[in-house]
């Protein structure tokens, strides 16, 4: 049995090596795609990425509130704060214009007297509580902080960012309120040890950290390289469906099928030989693309690919993707009746699955409906897995669900091929 399998593998490898066009499709096309797409998308991703989300910050307050928000945002890697436009200090008007023109994704305007307004509110509150006066109702100064949003920016992405931003701003507001509150209380209550100042500060420090930690781990946005290298590698791996299905169909049309089906060797063994060869091809494709990402792209002034730290995870995910892709090729090769048909069926379905799967446009910028559909594409499972490994420091455990889904896809494809084959041979 092993001899037969080896002979099949050898035959298949020779066939592939002599298919120069097929090889070009498998190895040259993805390199070209990675280069072109990365260079095109680099500037688009850059606006979000390189230094962080570009935010224009207008501080008309010039007091605690404005100062604290500015400090907080500047410490955050996700944001890149700018407070002047074209060399002039940013004003609310200028900021609005700049954001609407797309120079910044977001703008934040802290109005004049915001801190004073908060303090006033607090004094009124204290007054009311201590003295029973109803001054609060009379002078409720609202503190309006404006968040300006680039109208053409992807909403789904911005929603996440702005809601975090709102949360953060209200934290700062609350903090200032409590500070002035406790200061005033301390004036009223002589026993300073019971003043709430310290205890609030403590809890506040911990709370801040939480906000930033969650922001950083959930919303890492890949740069063009981190997205395009895995994306187009997966695309290329699935493209082996074309030469693979071709190899299956050629055997039918070139007459070998008469021999193949009358030999004392199960047809499945022949298919297994193909799967082995093409999964190895997938691994080679992956290595080539890693090399492109790590060594070639930096030569072109692009950031180098960062691999994360789970080599086992990468290998596992690549293998699973390879299996899913070969299974797909086997199914296409069995369902189609001519190699022409297989080429059209294969390439169209891969284009569709890749577009849905977030290869062309990352799925996190898709509308919610599309994102839901996207999660049914095997290319998306693979891509999500690579995001986890490359961007979020994921381990084997984190990608296991993706690996299992890809392997399940492989087995479903093999089952479909088996049924189709049985039906076809029943002439």
């Amino acid at each position: 049995m092993l001899n037969k399998l080896l002979a099949t593998v050898k035959k298949e490898a020779l066939l592939l090596l002599r298919d120069k066009v097929g090889l070009a499709v498998l190895f040259v096309m993805p390199v070209a795609l990675i280069l072109v797409m990365t260079l095109i998308q680099d500037s688009a991703f850059k606006s979000i990425n390189e230094k962080g989300i570009p935010i224009v910050f207008v501080n008309d307050d010039n007091d605690s509130l404005g100062y604290n928000i500015k400090q907080g945002l500047m410490q955050n890697d996700l944001c890149y704060l700018v407070d002047s436009i074209d060399g002039k200090p940013a004003t609310a008007e200028l900021a609005k214009k700049a954001v609407s023109e797309g120079n910044f994704l977001l703008g934040i305007v802290i109005p004049k007297g915001a801190t004073t307004a908060i303090r006033k509110n607090v004094s009124a509150l204290v007054d009311e509580t201590m003295n029973g006066s109803d001054s609060l109702q009379q002078q409720q100064d609202s503190v309006e902080i404006t968040i300006l949003i680039d109208p053409v920016a992807k909403k789904s992405f911005l929603n996440a960012v702005t809601s975090n931003l709102r949360e953060f701003i209200s934290e700062v507001k609350t903090k200032i309120m409590f500070q002035s509150f406790s200061e005033q209380i301390a004036d009223v209550i002589p026993d300073r040890q019971n003043a709430p100042t310290n205890s609030y500060k403590k809890s506040q420090i911990i709370h801040y950290k939480e906000i930033f930690a969650s922001t950083a781990s959930d919303k890492i946005i890949p740069n063009a390289v981190q997205h395009n290298v895995p994306a187009w590698t997966i695309f290329a791996m699935f493209f082996i469906a074309i030469p693979l299905s071709n190899s299956i169909l050629k055997e039918k049309t070139e007459g070998s099928v008469f021999r193949l089906h009358t030999m004392p060797t199960p047809y499945l063994l022949l298919i297994n030989g193909k799967i082995i060869v093409y999964v190895i091809v997938c691994l080679l494709q992956f290595l080539l693309m890693l090399a492109v990402g790590k060594f070639l792209l930096p030569q072109l002034g692009l950031p180098a690919l960062v691999l994360g730290n789970s080599m086992a995870g990468i290998l596992l995910l690549t293998l699973a993707t390879g299996f899913a892709a070969t299974g797909f090729g086997v199914a296409v090769g069995t369902l189609a009746t001519t190699d022409h048909q297989a080429a059209i069926m294969g390439s169209l379905s891969i284009l569709l699955l890749s577009a849905l799967g977030g290869i062309w446009v990352p799925s996190y910028v898709m509308p919610q409906v599309m994102r839901t559909i996207s999660s049914y594409s095997p290319l998306n499972w693979s891509l999500e897995g690579f995001y986890k490994l490359f961007l979020r420091g994921g381990t084997v455990n984190d990608i296991l669900p993706d690996v299992l889904k890809l392997m399940a896809f492989f087995f479903v494809m093999m089952a479909i091929a088996h049924l189709a084959n049985r039906k076809k041979r029943n002439v």
Binding site: K4, K11, L14, R259, P264, N426
Partner: protein, 250 residues
């Protein structure tokens, strides 16, 4: 049925899906051990269909087949090991060389290592392909492809060899070489089932022939027997035309 029969066919019928007429229609005959049995008939008579069923490529609609005392559908894997096939269409990988093709097909029949290599070289030498054996098959002439196609079916020394028009489209030289070697193989103990449109070749080569048309068996016997029994037929070709008449076929 004779106890020297190696293939026994009883009432074999095959109607393809969506076909109106059966391609093989209630055929019964048996083939003896060590015979060279000719399956003759016009285009579309059902020759390839019959051979395909005998090789286990697809199932018949009805009928019983016993090969080497085994029921075909109960012991197909065993039977597959003892048969060899030379299909009507060249069944080779065009981008592989003759040696690579033969190595693959030989392996599929369980040959390997030195034995496989020796047999490949033996036959390439015998059929005049030793020097060209490393060229891709796509660069071969029709006759060379036929010869390689033949070797792929006989490498494993099958007990029963099915030849579906093994000499179609080849020159006289190639044809003679092929027929000569087939006779040798037969002399070494292989039963041969052979189809052809070449009546003269069949008359000389076969020990017995059958003539089928429209899926029906018209006659079966030794060439001499059949010619003598049919008044006015001087040779197999005349007999063939008498039986199947001169109308053109699909």
């Amino acid at each position: 049925m004779s106890n020297t029969a190696i293939i026994e066919i009883e009432n074999l019928t095959k109607t393809f899906k969506h076909a109106e007429e059966p391609a093989v229609n209630g055929i019964s005959f048996s083939i003896n051990r060590n015979e060279i049995f000719g399956l003759l008939g016009p285009n579309g008579a059902g020759k390839t269909t019959t051979i395909s069923i005998l090789c286990g490529l697809f199932a018949p609609s009805s009928g019983k087949i016993v090969i080497d005392s085994k029921n075909l559908y109960e012991e197909l894997p065993l039977i597959k090991k003892i048969i060899g096939i030379v299909p009507q269409d060249i069944a080779l990988y065009p981008t592989l060389s003759a040696r690579e093709n033969l190595a693959f097909y030989g392996s599929m029949y369980g040959l390997h290592g030195k034995n496989l290599k020796n047999r490949i070289e033996f036959w390439l030498e015998k059929l005049g392909l030793k020097d060209t054996g490393k060229r891709q098959v796509s660069t071969y002439s029709g006759g060379m492809k036929r010869r390689v196609n033949l070797i792929a079916g006989i490498l494993h020394q099958p007990k029963i060899l099915f030849l579906d028009e093994p000499t179609v489209g080849v020159d006289v030289q190639s044809r003679n070489v092929i027929i000569e070697h087939l006779k040798e193989i037969n002399a070494a103990g292989t039963t041969i089932i052979y189809t052809s449109h070449h009546m003269e070749e069949a008359e000389n080569f076969c020990t017995r022939v059958s003539i089928i048309d429209h899926g029906k068996l018209l006659t079966v016997g030794t060439p001499t027997e059949l010619i003598n029994n049919n008044t006015g037929a001087a040779n197999l070709e005349a007999l063939f035309l008498n039986l199947t008449n001169r109308k053109l076929r699909d």
